[in-house]
Amino acid sequence: MNDHTTHSQEKPQQLDEHIVEIVSDSGEGAQKCGQTFGIIGGKMGNGIWTVEIIPAEIQPPARTPAGGSGNRVRVGSKIMTNMGNEADLVVGFNEQVLYARIANGAYKKGTIVLLENKWATDPQEKIRDQYAFAIKEFRDNGLIVHELAIEEECLKIVKNARKGKNMFVLGMLCRIYNRDTELGLTEIHNTFKHKGEKVVKPNQDLFKVGYQFAKDNLDYFYTIPPYEGAEQELKDIVVTNGNTALGLGVMAAGMEMVSMYPITPATSASHYVADVFNQVGGFVHQAEDEIAAIGFAIGASYAGKTACTITSGPGMALKTEMIGLAVMAEVPLVIVNVQRGGPSTGLPTKVEQADLLSALYGEPGDAPKIVIAAATIPECFEFVIMARKLAEEFRTPVILLTDANLATGVQPWLRPEIKEEWFSPPIDQSPWNKDIPAYDWDDQTGLSQRPIPGQPDGMYVLTGLSHTEHSKVSYNSETNQITSQHRSRKIAALQSTLKAPIIHGVESQEDEGDLLVVAWGSTIGAIEESIDRLNDQGYNVASLHLRFLSPLEPNLKEIFSRYKKVMTVEINYSDATNAPMINEENRRYAQLAHVLRAQFALDIDCWSVVYGHPLQPGMVIEELTQHLDAITA
């Protein structure tokens, strides 16, 4: 290791956590820089949580608020579960890209801004003026701005600083946060090795120079110790985003077919699977559209190879008719919906949890099915395995909801020990018992076993029309009533096997509380952190995070009865109670609130927003405080 990267003698200041953002024009590599910084943190035993900052276009114009691209990394001495509130330190490649972040409320008074200074001397007067104006404005708003000659330094070793600046910044950050430089150099090596040593070397050099530059020019020098137990866990840790976890889950579930059509933010899961699926003998089919994609998956599933299709809002909309078929004909199938902002094309890259009602009620006719939602990145992995099993056991499509936040967020998680029972068993090709009809519904549970093509004596014709147990088309009244019952009862049967959910924020199940927050999906981290802080402040508040939405997890009614108030917190639209025109006869509730109200006929309140970004504990705490104060007043 070179001299200039050895640790400084001065003692770094110890932090619990910091939130760091790196923001550049699109194409300048801030995303890579942030991801790598996160991974280094993860590998050093920190808790981390990353969120991508995604521009609106592929190549948005340079130096515009709309163009900001990068990464937010929350790194700390405990397991991180959400993106946190305002950032502590920001590296900006130009001043304009920071405006959108400021508009988003990403920074606070005291946030440190390390800003490329070359714009101060730009040949264009307009740019010089913009820069000067921004610096002043930033400072007036309480940001601590350091103007740094980043590009100038880079140009000392490379000709084109646009490519490479990000590794220089990585070096800077590694110095500031006292990271293990070996880890940094290794990550750079891994990133660029397929492009050859002639690319690896200059990037590593830039890293080192950046490190030294920060040491020489900046007083900031921190250390964030690993969380407790991290060291022994480290060897068992993987660091991935949710879509990669999803892809790993598909492979671990023993599914051999992902049939998909590209759509943001779901596609990267399929990209990942396409890359490695051959290692487990699987195949990614890119269909001509989402209808064909699910049709293809249903075909494979019908033939005994339960398949998976992965999509987002507009793609889900197109699959509606096919999902109805899968429900009616009882085809096992895993449908993953990586939710994005809607309705319609909406906010393609932004987070929302607004597809719950359409997952539950989207199909014309009565179409009961299993709907589950992953709350964390490891659950993106685990739930695919569970979904495949549920689909086959309950002979039904299973919709697994994740979202843009889980999809792109990076987190360390415990590497699971692979169990062969996860994989699907080889398909049965032995003769079917002739006396058993193709839909041998159990009267009590609605469950049945299915023949697989190739099984002698199992021949039947699957149909989406109303059908008898022998799968014969029937327009008979009783048949339709009874088969509808079976399809509904299956879901109830699943409920009877589930455990009551665990409540967060109370010591014992018997505790009564003032407020219970019910939620689902990727908001778990922000909400539980909020609950903890509120309880620390002396409030009496708890939260409950649902993974099963259909059926609902059991015991909710009893749990709800223990609280003075129950409300949901969600990232989807609901009318505010004090909005113009809105009253209790027309207020539109957040989606989980709607579901719970309908099921339990309890006056469950909600708070939800569609800002397109993950919940921040700050916002949640602010909102909940008002409710709590009202309850206890």
Binding site: G42, K43, L234, K235, V238, V239, T244, L248, M251, A252, G254, E256, M257, S259, V276, F277, N278, Q279, V280, G281, G282, F283, H285, A287, E288, D289, I291, A292, G295, F296, I298, G299, A300, A303, K305, E321, L325, R415, I418, E420, F423, D428, Q429, S430, P431, P451, P453, G454, Q455, P456, G458, M459, Y460, V461, L462, T463, G464, L465, K472, V473
Partner: protein, 318 residues
């Protein structure tokens, strides 16, 4: 619950299948005089002659009179959604190349709502037979215009006559890259129907067979003039295509030698509105068959899978 029987393969060896094995046994519910019967019977015969075990065959369809076909088969079947037979059939085949797949579809099911899947299934060229029951009308929903309805024909959606000249399914089909088998035939000539469907079944790849089909209830005018006047046809013969006995051939006054590897002349015959081509227009035995790719890795053991998964995890470990 149903373990694999050790003697299963032996059992297969001893089985001989009769026509009855390919029928569903129950009533076939088409109108009397419907051309669908002839097609169904021919499929039964082709299967019987090929001795395909009924449990190894799957009949897939969309929605329409024609799409009722799986219900009249003694094989497995999938009577799915309108226009979506092909993606389902492709999916079935993708990881089960061992299954013998047939698709029954109608002119509305395939060329109207199913137009996208039609093009893309041809592109994939998976080994299956597509039978288009083309009666030039929507039968099941009672007489609406289909893409192949003749201009001027009065239907319930165009009571003053269909507005446009009909789509030509053959020129479109031939225009799709990787298409490998294109034939046209009529339901009322059993020997030609048999030979063509047999050739389609034997071909490895997607065999597209457009069958001009009688619907006496709703579109008599679609086939009646053709039935009455075989001179409207031109029979394409070739040793690489179909050949029929002389007595069948005699029905047609126009018989022409056409090499089905000649794409451009296939296109020329397909386009001809005056002399409607029957027989195999095009055949390419070398086109890529998608399940050769999609079924790779089939039969990997759990150990191999676990190893593969572990290797995947390794990339994200520390």
């Amino acid at each position: 619950m149903f373990g694999i029987k050790a003697d299963w393969s032996l059992e297969v060896f001893e089985r001989y299948f009769t026509l009855d094995d390919y029928g569903a046994g129950g009533d076939v519910r088409w109108c009397s005089g419907c051309g669908d019967f002839a097609i169904l019977n021919t499929v039964h015969r082709v299967l019987r002659d090929a001795q395909v075990p009924p449990e190894k065959s799957v009949a897939v369809s969309g929605i329409g009179c024609s799409s009722r076909m799986p219900h009249y088969m003694g094989t497995y079947g999938f009577h799915g959604l309108h226009g979506r037979a092909l993606p389902v059939a492709n999916g079935i085949k993708s990881r089960r190349p061992d299954l013998d797949v047939w698709v029954a579809t109608g002119d509305g099911d395939c060329f109207s709502i199913g137009a996208g899947p039609w093009l893309h299934a041809l592109h994939l060229n998976m080994n299956m037979v597509i039978l288009v029951f083309d009666n030039g009308i929507y039968g099941l929903t009672k007489k609406q215009t289909s893409p192949t309805t003749k201009q001027g024909t009065k239907t319930n959606t165009h009571p003053r006559g269909a507005l446009l000249p009909p789509l030509n399914p053959l020129t479109i089909t031939l225009g799709v890259t990787n298409v490998s088998f294109v034939a046209q035939v009529v339901d009322w000539n059993p020997p030609l129907l048999y030979e063509t469907i047999k050739a389609a079944h034997e071909h490895r790849g997607t065999s597209f067979v457009r069958i001009l089909q009688r619907c006496p209830v709703f579109s008599e005018e679609f086939t009646k003039p053709l039935q009455e006047n075989p001179d409207k046809f031109i029979l394409l013969e070739h040793e690489q295509g179909v050949t029929v006995e002389d007595n069948v051939k005699r029905l047609f006054h126009n018989v022409i030698e056409h090499d089905p590897s000649d794409w451009l002349s296939a296109m020329k015959y397909a386009k001809d509105n005056e002399a409607i081509p029957l027989g195999i227009l095009f055949k390419d035995p070398d086109a890529i068959v998608y399940e050769d790719l999609s079924s790779q890795g089939l039969g990997m053991t759990n150990e191999e899978k676990a190893a593969g998964l572990n290797a995947a995890f390794d990339k994200f470990s520390i």
